[in-house]
Amino acid sequence: MNLHHVKYSKGQFKIQQMVFIIVALIILFGIVSVFFVSIRFGGLKTDVESLRKEAVLESVRKLAGTPEFAWIMSDDCASCVDMDKLILLKNRTSYKGFYKDISLLKISRIYPTYSANECTLQNYPDCNTITLIQGDNYEGYEAFVSLCGYDGQIGDYKCELGKIIMGFEGVK
């Protein structure tokens, strides 16, 4: 059959034109929708990441409530850590391997700070950091806590601003 001899009616042309326009409009609306969706949900990934991070921070802070860390002299301080317990915990061999999947566990004083950085039994309490676990290959998270302990100079208990720094194995 020779195509040159096929006759198309005017109505067929009109339908063809309309189909072309409809297809073009659908493509246009499709592109617009893709743009809209990408803008609308662009921040979703960041929001999820920040929510996850906050959940991790919350769980890091929960460590302050465990018996090894908790400050029991005050009833209304869930975020208080007993520094006197921690300095004793530092060199206890029985706690080796106790904290599973944790590559780093440090407690640092933020305010006030002292000249000595790492705490030992000799320089305690005039020091800044108690390192309980020091490994490598970790991603660290920090949570604010109150570092409490007995101060012989004032003859009373005192609390200072600090943070728990925790590094989890295999988190990238």
Binding site: L25, I39, L57, I110, Y111, A143, K158, E160
Partner: protein, 169 residues
């Protein structure tokens, strides 16, 4: 000059495309301009405020010589603006301690991730009251862009003291 019908239809189609594009551009413009700074509630700031309020100061408010925590110092600052045993004003000392803690925690400036901060304490008689009595405000750096913040409540009958902290990114 006579126009063919086909040309008219093409012009019509182009017009539709142009109108839709203009609407889309206007929508994008509104969406991306984002003139007001956005605020995010931050868990880390709440943790900071909660822990900071437990800070034992060097200021004894009573004759028994017991050193006051920062939240007690702010309460004293609001209620009587009393003096510490060493003669320092409770409001000044509370502000000084808070500033030192903030500066030790976050480095502020154009070259740092934190561009500035605003910390304010105010007294609110109840949660529905819009006007609060301002106790003090501490600011540093530039806070014109987006920020994350949180509040900490210190009970003080009949209302409570609200400490707000905002970190500007």
């Amino acid at each position: 000059m006579t126009r063919k019908k086909g040309q008219e239809e093409i012009v019509g189609f182009v017009l539709i495309v142009v109108i839709i594009t203009i609407i889309f551009v206007i929508f994008l413009g509104f969406k991306l301009r984002n003139p007001e700074p956005t605020q995010k509630e931050s868990e880390i700031i709440y943790q900071f405020l909660e822990s900071a309020m437990k800070q034992t100061s060097d200021c004894a408010l009573n004759t028994n010589g017991k050193r006051a925590d920062l939240d007690e110092l702010i309460r004293e600052c609001h209620s009587t603006n009393g003096l510490c045993d060493n003669g320092q004003n409770s409001c000044d000392r509370a502000k000084e301690i808070l500033v030192d803690m903030l500066n030790n925690t976050w480095k502020v400036g154009e070259d740092y991730p934190t561009k500035g901060y605003i910390v304010d304490a105010s007294y609110s008689y109840n949660s529905t009251q819009t006007q609060n009595e301002e106790i003090f405000t501490i600011t540093a750096g530039n806070c014109s862009s987006s920020f994350s913040g949180n509040s900490y409540l210190i009970p003080e009958f009949p209302g409570s003291i609200v400490v707000n902290a905002k970190l500007c990114n």
